[in-house]
């Protein structure tokens, strides 16, 4: 693996499988009375969040703590955009504190890339979501969840049909998922109104459809993206009702899914907008499972970036204390 995780494109198929396999091993920790491994004792992980995201932050925090790392939460609201402390000064501060890994969430696309390539910090950079660019650990947890539910928890996702529905244009989750899931062999279809698809989407490694209904029966998984209401005032679609009617997942559409198909959502959900409450709470929904898997996958990422030893060299089957 590379030293940083900035984009899902940084992961080769072998890298991605390594993360998923490692995550599967580490997931066992969650079932123990003491949910902790000594692996990263003495290492410092900084959660650098320029944007509010309690869910992602606590997921990384739990992951780092289960590996016994020291965790520093740095909530740097207001970047240089709002004349707060600059990205550079924040980075230099963290470097002075000796951060081994910096988990960064930022409203500007490419900010983690800047941190990793500027020479301001020496540690590994993990992109925890940057602007409308990428969110690679979300894609990893989604791939993990898909594999658990559709592929018996091992191997890749060859031939699995995954449909991602909604605001692709502004979605870092969609970008990372298209890259990672296609790397893992899945057959990805994006569904959105044309206004919410980026220029050039036809060059992405996926299919594109403006209609949800024909895609549903063939999907092994449907991932609904959050659609923000302000997109309506920007004329991306006429009304919330029209959006729900054309692109929302309700009971009727869910009934067209095949028996084993699952429903996913990266959260937070707009119940009643892109997904109805009934669907979100149905037995097909793996949304809560996604959250749990997020911790395992992030443990694997931190372990692989900071531990330095791949499981191939340091077997982690059997008792986990060894890693």
């Amino acid at each position: 693996m590379k030293r940083h995780l900035l984009s899902a494109a940084d992961l080769s198929r072998a890298d991605a499988l390594l993360v998923l396999d490692t995550a599967a091993q580490l997931a066992q920790v969650a079932d123990r009375p003491v949910k902790k491994l000594p692996t990263l004792r003495g290492r410092t992980v900084v959660n650098l969040f320029f944007e509010d995201s309690t869910r992602t932050r606590i997921s990384f925090e739990a992951a780092a703590k289960r590996l016994s790392a020291d965790v520093i939460n740095f909530s740097a609201k207001g970047s240089s955009v709002s004349k707060g402390e600059s990205l550079k000064d924040t980075a230099l501060t963290l470097e002075a504190m000796g951060a081994d890994a910096v988990v960064v969430r930022h409203g500007s696309s490419g900010a983690p890339h800047r941190l990793a390539s500027s020479g301001w910090i020496g540690g590994s950079v993990v992109n925890a979501g940057d602007g409308t660019h990428e969110h690679p650990t979300q894609a990893l947890l989604d791939a993990f969840t898909l594999r658990e539910n559709l592929a018996g928890g091992e191997g890749d996702l060859t031939g699995k049909k995954v449909t991602i529905v909604g605001d692709v244009l502004h979605s870092r989750v969609a970008r990372s998922n298209v890259l990672l899931l296609s790397t893992l062999g899945a057959d990805v279809t994006l569904v959105a109104p044309p206004t919410l698809l980026p220029i050039g989407v036809e060059t992405w490694p996926c299919n594109v459809s403006y209609d949800l209904d024909p895609v549903i029966p063939e999907s092994d998984a449907v991932m609904m993206l959050r659609v923000q209401l302000e997109r309506m005032t920007d004329s991306y679609f006429p009304t919330a009702r029209e959006y729900s009617r054309r692109y929302g997942l309700d009971n009727h559409r869910m009934s067209l899914l095949s028996e084993q198909s699952i429903v996913m959502h990266p959260g937070p959900m707009n119940r009643g907008m892109e997904i109805t409450a009934d669907v979100a709470d149905s037995k097909r929904s793996v949304i809560v499972e996604q959250v749990a898997n997020g911790v395992s996958v992030r443990m694997a990422v931190l372990y692989l970036l900071l531990g330095g030893n791949a499981p191939a060299e340091t077997p982690i089957d059997g008792p986990l204390e060894g890693i």
Binding site: S80, S118, G131, H133, G200
Partner: protein, 433 residues
Amino acid sequence: MPRIVVTGASPLGGAAVDIVIDGDRIVEVVGGGKADTGGARTIDADGLVALPGFVDLHTHLREPGREDAETVESGTRAAALGGFTCVHAMANTEPVADTAGVVEQVWRLGKEAEWCEVRPVGAVTVGLAGQHMAELGAMAASAAQVRLFSDDGKCVDDAVIMRRALEYVKAFDGAIAQHAQEPRLTEGAQMNEGVLSGTLGLRGWPAVAEEAIIARDVLLTQHVDSRLHVCHVSTAGSVELIRWAKSKGINVTAEVTPHHLLLTDELARSYDPHFKVNPPLRTQEDVLALREGLADGTIDAVATDHAPHPVEDKECEWSAAAFGMLGLETAFSVVVESMVNTGLLDWVGVADRMSRRPAQIGRVKGQGGSIAAGEPAHLTLVDPAATWTVRPTELASLSRNTPYRERVLPGRVVHTIYAGNPTVTDGTAERTR
């Protein structure tokens, strides 16, 4: 001031001559080695190409207001090092150059600095706000003799204001230099809209936002029979539109920046804001169309859009960074790489696009002439065979935001002579006055 004899120079790439300068004029051009050098200061230009001093239609000198980024003094010194003997200072200063007072101040600072002629560009609208026409007549009649008006940085997007401005400047042979950018289509825009902007998650600046304004403006210009200049043309479609307008006899001229002749949007992959500029770097297809347009004369001039910014405005995340890049000291070399070494322009063409035509567009008397006896002595002597490595800290500009850091560029400005004064000798700015 002693006479100056430039020996062995090759004017526009022709046979070697000696050029004799007395005062601010060229007094004699004779075959190489034939001039009388007695008592004169000689400048050895053996192997160098002599070109008329370059005229930049688009320079941000940042004074008044942002003297931390550039001053008239530092910017014009950089201009001299880049081979320029005249620059047009853009109006988006603080305060905005929208009154006779501000344009005269900039003009006077240029005169005092003496590195090159400074021609202020006046704002079209008060405060660049696009609402009310500025006192264009007062600026035209001032000591600065303003002939080009631009809200550069902002588009005069209101069609009525644009129409009125185009009409109004006819009274004093002015022209509107339009920054063609439809504002609604480019809200929050960060880079060229295309496959790459979608991948990088950066808000797109579509080509149509430039082309729609150019199409409207050439039609307005035709309608009111005025004169339009299009700033920093960046797309293949814009070249097509301007070619069409010229074929219809519409009085439109256009400029292209050196960076749009050489660099593409691929550089945004680095998320390094040194490649963030407005209009944005476009695709290779656009680059080739711009080169072709400049070669066939559809595009009249190379203009730098020299845009200095302090370090902190570039040493940050992409979306927080300022738009713009330095250009004065690298313009000639970039033209050599993109136009001369590719066989698209010869030295006559370089002189035309970097000196003669921009001087005409700016109505700059005494610049952009030929290298002949009786002409004003504005000369740039260049070494086409030289190469150099761009080092931001070695540039004369107060700012360092060059996109060519550590890049090796061909062609080097060796000497610049402005109004008979050597401002640059052996690549070094000199102050002998």
